[in-house]
Amino acid sequence: MWYNKGVDLLTVSVTARESAGEPYTLVEITGEADVTNTDELRRLLDEEVSQQPRTLIIDLSGLRFMDSSALHALLRVNRSLDRQGGVLALVSPQAAVAKILRLTTADRLIPVFGSVAEAAAG
């Protein structure tokens, strides 16, 4: 299962995958995420959360920029997954994205991995 959704500067694709027999959902966010496309990003992520994945991995390697609105969308996903017993992991943030994660200490709340494989292995 996959789809692409162009949200102005932002593209989100979702794939269902497996690692050592364990299913996980991989979301790749590409482009620039800011207040002008946060509503759409939130809606797309909410759809995935509603599928109740045990592990949701968001690959940020193609995301050039993220502002605080988009960060809040990720924090919301983290909170929702936490409540339903799931786990959120982030992968390979670029410098600008890593900066806002570090500054707000969101990277202490949500685990950040260097690759999808590492994130999937937990």
Binding site: E32, D34, V35, D67, L75, A96, K99, T104, L109
Partner: protein, 174 residues
């Protein structure tokens, strides 16, 4: 994005009259109002509505041109984007970004018709649970200096980033 080009008039930029906000103020007694914008003939102005990607590209280019390191350029881009995001969220009119730099610093000024009523806006760190209110706090964290002036006619926020010290024998771009 409309690029207005260089502003035609130059008024004496009386920067000495500006009250500058210290880099850190642990007692957090609020932002110091910015003086009215100096219109400089070496500044560049851009009007934006929702095209924040274009605004970020402009700031990135100017920051590198002014000699900021990549990390500091990222900081300035983030700060300007957060302030411009407030225009998109709260102001009912376009915003205006003006950029200039001298030997000492690069300044990005953002003006819109929105009103910030909290004089301590961005001075306190919001909780991650708050799911909001991080924008101006981030701005205050990454910039060397932030000036904020807001009244019923609108809000002007000026973001200052120090330029790296000029190397001897190198004539910095003024």
């Amino acid at each position: 994005m409309a690029r207005d080009g260089n502003t035609a008039q130059r008024e004496p930029a009386d920067e000495g009259a500006l009250t500058r906000q210290p880099e850190s103020r642990p007692d957090g007694d609020g932002a110091v109002p910015a003086a009215p914008a100096p219109e400089r003939d070496d500044s560049m102005s851009y009007t934006y509505t929702t095209d924040l990607g274009a605004i970020r590209a402009v700031v990135q280019r100017c920051a590198i041109e002014a000699g900021l390191t990549e990390a500091r350029a990222i900081d300035l881009v983030l700060a300007v984007s957060e302030v411009a995001a407030n225009t998109v969220k709260h102001a009912k009119s376009p915003g205006r970004l003006t950029i200039w730099y001298d030997t000492r610093e690069i300044v990005c000024q953002i003006h819109d018709e929105g009103v910030i009523t909290d004089p301590l806006a961005g001075r306190r760190q919001p909780s991650l649970d708050a799911l909001g209110g991080h924008g101006l706090w981030i701005v205050n964290q990454v910039c060397d200096q932030v000036e904020l002036q807001s009244d019923e006619t609108g809000t002007t926020i000026r973001l200052h980033m120090n330029r790296p010290a000029a190397t001897p024998g190198h004539d910095p771009v003024a």
